[in-house]
Amino acid sequence: MGLIEAIILAVLAASTPLLLAATGELVTERSGVLNLGVEGMMIVGAACGFGGAWLSGSVIIGALCGIVAGVLMSLIFALMTLGLAVNQVATGLALTILGIGLSGLIGSRFVGEKISLAPHLYIPGLTDIPLIGRILFGEDAFVYLSLALVAGVWFFLYKTRAGLILRAAGDNHASAHALGYSVLRIRMFAVMFGGACAGLAGAYLPLAYTPFFIPGMTAGRGWIALALVVFASWLPGRLVIGAYLFGAVTILQLHAQGWGVGIPSQLMSALPYLATVIVLVLISRARTGGSTAPAALGTVFVPDR
């Protein structure tokens, strides 16, 4: 296996949890809701995903447990921000605190346990193709699932009526409401989708990355997912590029050290965040009348009657 191929494989795996969580958050934000609790939903997803897989012996059941856990967490958020019109920023932060605590409680039962990792795909013939075979056909299924998910989200947002309505709810909830759509119901589904993706992203870590659960193992990846959505200026296609760029920076920084390149690692680590700010400024500037950001992002909506 060549070094470049190996690096690409590592980048794919490192980017997948980011891409999954960011895809969910992108849909949530497109509906006009800013859920800062991604990290909290992810870590609960990791704990439940591991627990499910450990108890059942099945990676798929583990993944489902992670998804369900993420959805349940997101429902708390939905209840607060949509049902009770509470500020989204404060609720999202509180959700993260709750999630860290809950995951610790749930995970304390599984300390020191180990499961078998999700298997890597092997398709005879295809996976054996030199150079590209392992990359295109030889990672774990979640890697390809995450890409399919982005494609699905793109199709949904831009090619379906429901997607159009969702975007309308995010850009101008008053108009969407006036047209007779239930903004709150749309947003609730969007928040739940975000929770499902975050839960799966969290579960990816113990199921496909490191086969154990340790409290705090998401180590800030939820926050990076939030940054990614902005970096991608809320466009699914750019999200893929962004996630792989983030993953590549992480992995290349490690390789650079192995090669003996002496750049302060903090500078390397800061680059994605600085890039995000710059991208945000550029896209905001390029488009007159504001950015591609959903116009109603983060605002409370209570239907008038």
Binding site: V86, L98, G101, G104, Q266, S269
Partner: protein, 363 residues
Amino acid sequence: MQLVLEKRAERSNTIALISPLIAIGLTLVTMSILFAILGKNPISALGVYFIDPLTDSYSLQEIAVKATPLVMIAIGLSLCYLANAWNIGAEGQFLVGAVAGSWLAVKTQGTDAGPWVLPAMMLLAAIGGALYALIPAICKVRFGASEILTSLMLVYVADLLLDYLVRGPWRDPKGFNFPTTAEFDPVAAVPALIEGGRLHLGGVIALVVVAAVAVLLGKTIKGFEIRVVGAAPRAARFGGFNSNQLILLTFAISGALAGLAGIIEVAGPVGHLQPGISPGYGFTAIIVAFLGRLNPVGILIAGLFLALTFIGGEQAQIAMKIPLDVTKVFQGILLFYVLACDSLILYRFKLVFASPKVSSGAH
């Protein structure tokens, strides 16, 4: 038939008064159940959380120490939020303030610099925090970039900057490569209020900040502008208020306060600059700001209350062996209840029988 939320014609003062009580009541019930499931006596557990820390002067001091940075940051944030400017990067401004102030402490270390050092450090920290906060504010007013997201991104940059400095240039030469500066000289340390106690001058500064902002909001035209721009942007435009200018102003003030809180924490309880000087103060303060309903006195109470749950949680770990994770769950639940109940100040529930889609009778 369904239950829907409806905006009240005016805020309900009754609910405003009783909502914290309802929230605490709900939390107590929920936590009692949780404690019972965990096999702990709920009554004594809640006593350890809420009552015990209030009964001795040591714990009261610790509550004040813990609340100091939270209150200072949250006060600044409340100005932003009132003006509809969404600064959520206070954590970064806190760190940059700590770095800016520490620069002087490190440079004057071992010299015979006089007592001017600490005030100068505080000034530098406030300026550093303010400038750092102005980055997202300027991106917002100049380019329309979402300040929520840019200010959040800059938190990580600040964190890495601090990390770089204490692992590289500012590292204590005698510190065996551990990532920390040397202990600050006495002239660069925030003095304690009581000999041997941990309560420090920062607590007094926080109180002054609370009072000053209360006056700013209640008695000055700028304060009026801030509130109007946030509550009624259209009216504010007609009134000729410059909302961009207010975004810059409120961001600068909140950045300065966060930066000041940063240096006070470093030069006070910690005593040197190191990574991890903030256990998420900048984010917790956002919650404090909302718990305090963006009102200076409310924030003071909320900050003290949240500090109480930290201290109480620690004492519960000691006295009753209740895991730290339970404290986190407890804090999360409490925050949800308080925020939810406060929502009823502005909204009320109503049973609706007709389908909500049929909205217009006459055109």
